[in-house]
């Protein structure tokens, strides 16, 4: 179903994008790989030297690194399913006919969380979750719940990050799934609705097949963003208390930017990148209808 074109045409269409990404994506990456084989500390340039795979060995045996990886995985495992379920509910409600004005307003309000700067989201969390002057604790008080120390307790801080991630990204998931629902041919949907009164059956057998690509897109995007998650925990908890919210990107930033150990940070990044690529490959292999 595709056209064969000359090499020249192909190069004209693809060349610029490939070239640009090679420059901004690959070149720094190669540089990072090279640096990861060195002892390279910004504040100790005199001791710079080639160390082979030493940095990798250190990272792979570093408890803090694996703990951060585990924390990131845990965040993903908890937050993303919740986002998908809530997002799907929102999308299904919005997809149903009727109450047009309400639905338009809701759709517009969905844009708010995802448009809010991630760093700001973390700052906002500090303000709203504060034990003393935070509004969330005030509201919990109204329904008789004692104020919760969100930021100062390791478990609560982790939960707070999850809740905030859900707040920010559920709407995005909802919008993608809503778009997915819009690809279901209306005649099929109507016929199915007439046949069965169960919404579940319609969802399971009629809508879901059309939603698969959207769900995979959501998974891919959310995996990428969870692995990259930095701004929000950074401004909210700085990885604390203890290391309760030190996710992988926060850890790497700390090593590279506060200990200035660029060689080590590079090694950590490369390992993280390898994990990412494997995950992305898996998703696409198993779920996604690739470009044919």
């Amino acid at each position: 179903m595709t056209t064969k074109v000359s090499r020249k045409t192909l190069a004209a269409f693809l060349g610029p994008a490939v070239f640009a990404l090679a420059i901004v994506g690959i070149a720094p990456l190669l540089f990072a790989v090279w640096k990861s084989l060195h002892y390279f500390n910004l504040t100790k340039r005199a001791q710079e030297r080639f160390v082979g795979l030493e940095n990798y060995a250190t990272v792979l045996t570093d408890q803090a690194f694996w703990e951060a990886m585990g924390r990131t995985a845990l965040l993903f495992i908890i937050a993303v399913p919740v986002q998908i379920v809530l997002g799907l509910i929102i999308a299904l409600v919005l997809h149903r006919p009727g109450l047009t004005l309400f639905k338009t307003l809701t759709r517009l309000s969905l844009v708010l969380p995802m448009a809010t700067t991630y760093a700001v989201v973390g700052l906002l969390a500090q303000v709203m979750l504060n034990q003393k002057y935070g509004v969330i604790n005030q509201m919990l008080g109204w329904i008789g719940i004692e104020s919760i120390n969100f930021i100062g307790d390791p478990t609560n801080a982790f939960i707070a990050v999850i809740l905030w991630d859900i707040w920010q990204w559920t709407p995005f998931v909802a919008l993608i799934l809503l778009a997915g629902l819009s690809t279901v041919p209306p005649e099929i949907e109507e016929a199915a609705t007439l046949e069965t009164r169960s919404n579940w059956t319609v969802l399971r057998h009629v809508q879901l097949p059309f939603l698969i690509p959207s769900l995979v897109a959501v998974l891919i995007l959310r995996t990428a963003d969870t692995l990259k998650l930095f701004d929000m925990p950074f401004t909210m908890t700085r990885g604390g208390p203890g290391s309760a919210t030190e996710f992988i990107a926060v850890l790497i930033e700390r090593v590279g930017n506060r200990q200035f150990d660029i060689g080590m940070a590079a090694a950590q990044s490369i390992i993280m990148l390898a994990v990412t690529i494997v995950l992305a490959r898996l998703y696409i292999r198993f779920f996604y209808r690739e470009v044919r």
């Binding site: 064969k4 045409t9 192909l10 269409f13 693809l14 610029p16 990404l21 994506g25 720094p28 540089f31 990072a32 929102i90 409600v93 009727g98 109450l99 309400f102 639905k103 809701t106 759709r107 517009l108 309000s109 969380p113 448009a115 809010t116 700067t117 991630y118 760093a119 700001v120 989201v121 906002l124 303000v127 709203m128 002057y133 005030q138 707040w167 919008l175 993608i176 778009a179 997915g180 819009s182 690809t183 169960s198 959207s214 990428a224 692995l227 930095f230 701004d231 990107a249 790497i252 930033e253 590279g256 590079a266 993280m272 990412t276 690529i277 992305a280 490959r281 696409i284 690739e290 470009v291």
Partner: protein, 275 residues
């Protein structure tokens, strides 16, 4: 979940919608109201809902703390990134959707993979390189780096959009002797507008909000608004009003942009859902 009585279900639905709205809007509302509080009011315990608003925080951040400049920097960076990503990305997406060539799947995958690369991976090497090239603290450095995540998203969304356009249209044009470029420009690109719009919004939002590259690569002259907002987070004294005023100023432009284009949002986000 079945709806035996239509009206009751509608009421339930309306309540659910209101809850969703409240869930989305409340933190935003709190941000805006906090930005209108003085420090003493902001730190009051329990928090107050009714107070005399003041614009002093906005005045201060805009005219004393150079937030205005950082907003302009952000606009320059986000607009240029988005324009560049669309210019480079749409032809590539078109090629991926329409042309046949070897290694297409791998190429597509490689494009998308870039979206996965965390800024922490690239930030330090780019910092070292940018200093050699004299790009440190320039808009250009940020614009180029932001391509790493905006270009993949444009290519991804637009490839799917192009593929959903019926091929009969371009086949007819081809019979009339139109070049591939003409078909792309005059026929397919206009039809793929929802995708272009959505990927522009996303690319704009992602670049506008980016923090890590910004704060490593642009410490001063090209400092963007999110990096500026973090600046107020001195553990010494946290001026909540000023932080929230800055935050509000940062969010509003994105919001306007996103709301304007929101009618495309649903039509353009049909990722991978090919007929």
């Amino acid at each position: 979940m079945a709806a035996p009585i239509q009206s009751r279900s509608l009421v339930g639905e309306a309540i659910l919608l209101v809850l969703i709205c409240a869930f989305c809007v409340f933190p935003f509302y709190w941000m805006v109201t906090t930005s209108l509080k003085t420090q003493v009011v902001a730190l009051e315990s329990p928090p107050v809902w009714w107070f005399t608003p003041t614009l002093a925080n906005y005045w201060e951040v805009l005219f004393e703390d150079k937030v205005g400049v950082s907003l302009i920097n952000s606009i320059i960076v986000a607009v240029c990134t988005t324009a560049l990503a669309i210019t480079l990305g749409t032809p590539a997406a078109y090629a991926l959707a329409r042309f046949e060539f070897r290694g297409k799947t791998d190429l597509w995958f490689w494009f998308i993979t870039n979206r996965f690369v965390s800024p922490v991976v690239l930030a330090f090497p780019v910092f070292l390189i940018s200093r050699e090239l004299g790009l440190r603290d320039t808009h250009l450095a940020l614009i180029l780096m932001y391509l790493t995540f905006s270009l993949p998203i444009v290519i991804w969304i637009c490839t799917d959009q192009f593929r959903s356009i019926p091929r009969e249209l371009d086949e007819a044009a081809m019979l009339e002797g139109a070049s591939q470029w003409r078909i792309f420009r005059s026929i397919c690109l206009p039809l793929a507008m929802p995708g272009v719009a959505v990927s522009s919004i996303l690319s704009f939002i992602f670049s506008w909000n980016e923090l890590l590259f910004a704060y490593i690569l642009a410490p001063k002259n090209a400092k963007t608004a999110p990096a500026m907002a973090v600046t107020f987070m001195e553990g010494y004294d946290v001026p909540y009003g000023k932080i929230m005023a800055t935050s509000t100023l940062i969010v509003i432009p994105v919001l306007i942009f996103a709301l304007l284009a929101s009618k495309h949002l649903v039509r353009g986000l049909t990722m991978g859902a090919v007929k």
